[in-house]
């Protein structure tokens, strides 16, 4: 079984938000800049609450910011 990974689009979303800095995002979400760096670099998986705060900062739904990748191929469509 491959390790589960949470991918994120924070870098792209920061770029699309007018090059929002990591420090600005950190201040908006109530964490340190180093934590944003760690999340962006997939070195830390945030709590659900922090994930929602980050998504709210970008005005995006959670699944557009974070994606769960458990290493297995996606299930085929049922219809």
């Amino acid at each position: 079984m491959e390790p589960a990974r949470i991918r994120n689009q924070i870098r792209r979303l920061r770029f699309e938000s007018g090059e929002m800095t990591q420090q600005t995002l950190a201040e908006q979400t109530g964490v340190t800049r180093q934590t944003i760096v760690a999340i962006e670099g997939a070195k830390y998986s945030p709590s659900l609450e922090l994930a929602f705060r980050i998504a709210t900062a970008f005005h995006k739904p959670l699944e557009e910011v974070f994606q769960y990748d458990n290493g297995s191929s996606p299930a085929p469509p049922t219809d």
């Binding site: 964490v31 340190t32 180093q34 934590t35 997939a42 070195k43």
Partner: protein, 150 residues
């Protein structure tokens, strides 16, 4: 590098710098069959004094240079992992102390039953070594988690 990572590095380095020479000194005393309590207590007081001076001095320096930084959920998660590892190290080492101390004391010709001053001092130093290694495991875990992720 975050303030808490710098803090973990400082604690790791100062603990190593102070307590490695301390344990080299006290285990040399055992090798010389010197069991005077004053030597051990004196060395311990000097080690604790230097640990406080170096640690507090360095912590004040990095805080003044970097500024205050609130603790967030990642810091808490790393701290929890560090404490768990430190606890495992402490429990593992503390259990082995009698099994190491008593045969060593017997081999050095010290009376083991009842325990004489030499083996008691040796046991106390091994327990202190367990605490120090557990502390270092805690700081090392923090440094690794900050560097490589949790």
């Amino acid at each position: 590098m975050s303030l808490r990572e710098k803090s973990a590095w400082i604690c790791l380095v100062t603990t190593g710098v102070v307590f490695v020479p301390y344990f080299v000194f006290v285990f040399r005393l055992f090798g010389q069959q010197d069991h005077s309590l004053a030597s051990y207590i004196g060395a311990f007081v000097v080690a604790v004094f230097w640990q406080i001076i170096l640690n507090v001095g360095a912590q004040i320096y990095v805080t003044i240079r970097g500024g205050e930084e609130p603790k967030d959920e990642r810091d808490v998660a790393i701290e929890a992992k560090a404490y768990r590892n430190a606890y495992l190290v402490l429990v593992s080492l503390a259990w082995t102390v009698p099994f190491v101390a008593l045969p060593v004391a017997a081999a050095m010709g010290q009376p083991v039953i009842p325990l004489s001053k030499g083996p008691l001092l040796f046991i106390s130093q091994l327990l202190l070594l367990s605490f120090v290694l557990a502390e270092m495991a805690k700081y090392l875990t923090q440094v690794i988690c900050y560097r490589r992720g949790i």
